[in-house]
Symmetry: C2
Subunit: 300 residues, 2 copies
Amino acid sequence: MIKSEFLTFIYSLQDKITEALEGLEPSKKFQEDLWDRPGGGGGKTRILSDGQVIEKGGVNTSAVHGKLSPAMTKQLGVEEDDFFACGISLVLHPVNPHAPTVHANFRYFELYDEDKNIVNQWLGGGIDLTPYIIYESDIKHFHRVCKTTCDLHHKDYYPKFKEACDQYFWNHHREEARGVGGIFFDYLKPTESMSLQDQFDFVKQMGNQFLTAYLPILTHRKDQTYTPEQREWQLIRRGRYVEFNLIHDKGTLFGLKTKGRIESIFMSLPPLVKWAYQAIPNNKEQQQLVDILIQPRAWV
Amino acid sequence: MIKSEFLTFIYSLQDKITEALEGLEPSKKFQEDLWDRPGGGGGKTRILSDGQVIEKGGVNTSAVHGKLSPAMTKQLGVEEDDFFACGISLVLHPVNPHAPTVHANFRYFELYDEDKNIVNQWLGGGIDLTPYIIYESDIKHFHRVCKTTCDLHHKDYYPKFKEACDQYFWNHHREEARGVGGIFFDYLKPTESMSLQDQFDFVKQMGNQFLTAYLPILTHRKDQTYTPEQREWQLIRRGRYVEFNLIHDKGTLFGLKTKGRIESIFMSLPPLVKWAYQAIPNNKEQQQLVDILIQPRAWV
């Protein structure tokens, strides 16, 4: 049963990731918050605040069930409204501007008929990177891990999901990407060549590769010396992250509309953010980032 | 002609307000930025950054004309698409958490038929206050100026526009108000008892009362001693201001959708903002603010 396997996967991944990150923090630990959803189910939110490495990080799991709202059934284009959904979602905002912000999410959805038979089920997720200062080697490493993992499962996955990621994390009003992408996939349903189990194997492996993709970058950058100007630039660029999440991100807006748990939804927002008037790049390093964001590239 | 009178009004108000605020700043001045709108018209953006009193403030005027998009004609419920719009818009974020953020906006809109005759015209605007620490005397003063000015023109204005303000500046996802309100009016069109000229007189007087409503508060609070905890609370509460403007504010979202000038639209965003996990009130002073925001009051 994929449902129980997926739950095992997300809880074990949550433990693995929070443990690995705590290994980099000299004193701070994740604080766990268990919460119930009035309509059914609940979640396990883990937040690390004001660390020496992670300024704010959330690694959350949730498993909820109940009835979809009419708005949701319409959005999904389905008739049934009896659902189960679970997933893991994480966002890490490091202190050091040399270290990129990272986001990952893996989720599983089931829809039932009146006799509680599954009538529809799908997987979704992705991982993506948002740097403040460009290190091409870091970005290539991150994308290489994504591609290698994808390629083990389906040759079309990486090109398709890489493009979907660039398209989804697009700050339309700024005409630039939120970051340098990664992979993004939604409504992953069985096909002739890939069973749901095959797809779950892919998602599981991708989740398990998260630390391979991100931890070496964080470890390498966390102690790099930075200037006040680089920190300021990071705070300004974090503003774009907020703009994407509050204006464009479907998950965030859906969560707010359906009266989801605000504190868990907004764990993705950076700890400290600056909005300055006309904050345009004023050196080569800043310009390099913007040049890359307005024209997403092939990294591997 | 109301159009030219309104233009005179907004430019002179912009001068008056920026001059008065500069009078409180020991060294910083507003920086002016003139911009053109590709579709027709343009604006005069004035920004003061990193002042000793105003951390970030924008006092902008614009006068634009051209063709409405189909989305806009639909939203307005009109057939004609040939338009002229002008207005003044300001947001001031003081450094001192004892001093409230303030927002004001006054605008005028004309719609033409194919022969350039005016087929529709209306006024809109309002002023509202967003404190971080409650001083009832400040809030009462602000509302009293609003009410006194409204009462000179129409006995229904203050109660009606005060309620509209509380309704409009509502952070639905938090179930709390953005601030303590003021007045808000939209689509103010001639009625039997009030001609457009009468309404313009009201709007003009309200604009000219802005400094009466806000300046004494700012002058009184700008040098009050504050603690790091009060500053932190201000940064966290400013996050709610961002949330309102990016998630709910129709003006902001419309501006972004219609590819308005980003830097002018986002001048409303606070200079420095904090998002902490579960930032709930942890003293009486903070609790007092939240209590007032979740249940808007009659102040005069």
